[in-house]
């Protein structure tokens, strides 16, 4: 009980201090909790915030699905066939350290500033965590599990579906969880950068940029930041729940 009180009290005390200091010393421009709350009510009421979030989430979802569709089969192939892994590993290791945001200028050049470019950036960001974890998951499968199915005469294609895939599933889901987090960060960065340089189309990142560059509305920026955080938290919790639901046997 004592611990809970301390935990619960700290954020409240910090927010109260923020309000007091802003009222006492800050210029009227400085964001403060009361103004942020008012701004949040306005943005939610007008539907602007929800529209922006839905736009961004739609891009993240499409890009993430694209990444899964390529990375999971490829990861299973690379994890199980040594030759394929050894030959493709140089490409993976060469591209992996290149952040998604770094290829943004190229993607804008190729695909413009619309949703397609955003989806590609998101897919690129989510791709490597999913791929790497899938490969690792397949390689880490207990050899004896495959052998057990083999000695029972289970045919190879069935073995892949009933042993390899479920055994690698926890690692694949971990990769998806990391990948989704990276995808969400990447979309914010992409929309911000596109908003900054080329005037893209919508999304929470661009909304923040408009608050910065045009309406100079700091409270709005803070509302967007909080929304970004909440969405990140919710996405993470959803995948964690999926992990628990799909992997009831693992003790996480």
């Amino acid at each position: 009980m004592k611990h809970f009180l301390i935990r619960f009290a700290t954020p409240i005390v910090l927010i109260a201090l923020w309000q007091l200091f802003a009222d006492a010393f800050g210029s009227p421009r400085i964001p403060r909790p009361s103004a942020v709350l008012a701004s949040a009510m306005k943005l939610i009421g007008s539907g602007d915030l929800v529209t922006a979030l839905v736009t961004s989430l739609g891009r993240v979802f499409s890009g993430f699905m694209l990444a899964c569709a390529i990375a999971i089969p490829l990861g299973i192939l690379m994890g199980s066939v040594r030759t394929v892994e050894r030959n493709l590993d140089p490409l993976v290791e060469s591209f992996r350290p290149v952040a998604a945001i770094a290829i943004l200028p190229l993607v804008i050049l190729w695909l413009g500033t619309g949703s397609m470019a955003a989806i590609v950036i998101v897919a690129y960001a989510a791709f490597f965590p999913i791929l790497i974890n899938t490969i690792a998951g397949v390689k880490r499968i207990d050899n004896n599990l495959m052998r057990a199915a083999y000695t029972m005469g289970v045919p190879p294609a069935t073995r892949m579906w009933v042993v390899l895939l479920p055994a690698a599933l926890p690692a694949i889901l971990v990769g998806m969880r990391i990948g989704l987090g990276m995808a969400w960060t990447a979309i914010i960065a992409a929309e911000l950068a596109v908003g900054a340089k080329a005037g893209g189309e919508g999304g929470i990142g661009q909304m923040m940029f408009i608050f910065y560059a045009y309406s100079v509305e700091l409270n709005g920026i803070v509302v967007c930041m909080i929304a970004v955080g909440i969405v990140a938290l919710v996405l993470d919790r959803i995948l964690r729940a999926a992990l628990h639901a799909a992997v009831p046997w693992s003790r996480l």
Binding site: D142, A167, W249
Partner: protein, 272 residues
Amino acid sequence: MTQQPAPKITLAHVRKEFGGTPAAVVAVDSLSLDIQPGEFLAIVGPSGCGKTTVLNMLAGLEPVTSGTMTMDGKAISGPGAERGVMFQDYALFPWKTVVGNIGFGLDHGPAGHGLSRAEREARVTRAIDLVGLKGSETKYPHQLSGGMRQRVALARLVANEPKILLMDEPLAALDAQTRIILQDELLRIWGQDKPTSERRTVVYITHSIDEAIFLADRVVVLSSHPGRLKRIVDVDLARPRNDETRKSRSFAELSQTIWELIREEAYRATMR
């Protein structure tokens, strides 16, 4: 269990090397052995004697380097459903419940071919009863104790009804009491109360001399580096065996005999 006579396995001058040609490690060398139908054969030896390698070759998981290994006159070239394997760490599928694990071979392998769903379920139920797992059907392996997991692995092996049971230190991870209980059950499942023609054939790897003597008709003693046949010891203790057997004088004498055969190498193995 179908009542055809179980096949006979013959090993002739079997040699197994690992690694490339210049730096090959010889795991097993010039091993010749006949395994009789309905026999309970135990293989003991110090660590590094290639016990597990022999079992893997019998299972068809690893090819012999030279020599022959035949079953009913035909060379063993790969795994087959007539030879069931029980792995040292049980190799239970963590994502399958007890029922799913026991029925795995029936659901996905040839052991279940031609069986209706009801027949497969009946076989799983029978296996569950046989090893005393009633009440745990829907549990996952991680929810079970070591002894329970061992029972699941045994039930999975039995449910597939292989003619030959290959077991790699199945009781090694268990505490002493559980081991004794499961040794008794193992003998019952093997069919020690039945005539030899109705018994299964068991090849049983263990590092415990007492366990080998208690269970087996014959104990194969291997030497290490490379694994060679040292001696085959006949265990002429009466069946059915029970707690009295363990206390008997001849049991202790057999144990002493085998220990003396491998003592020196066992000492050396602890220093490696």
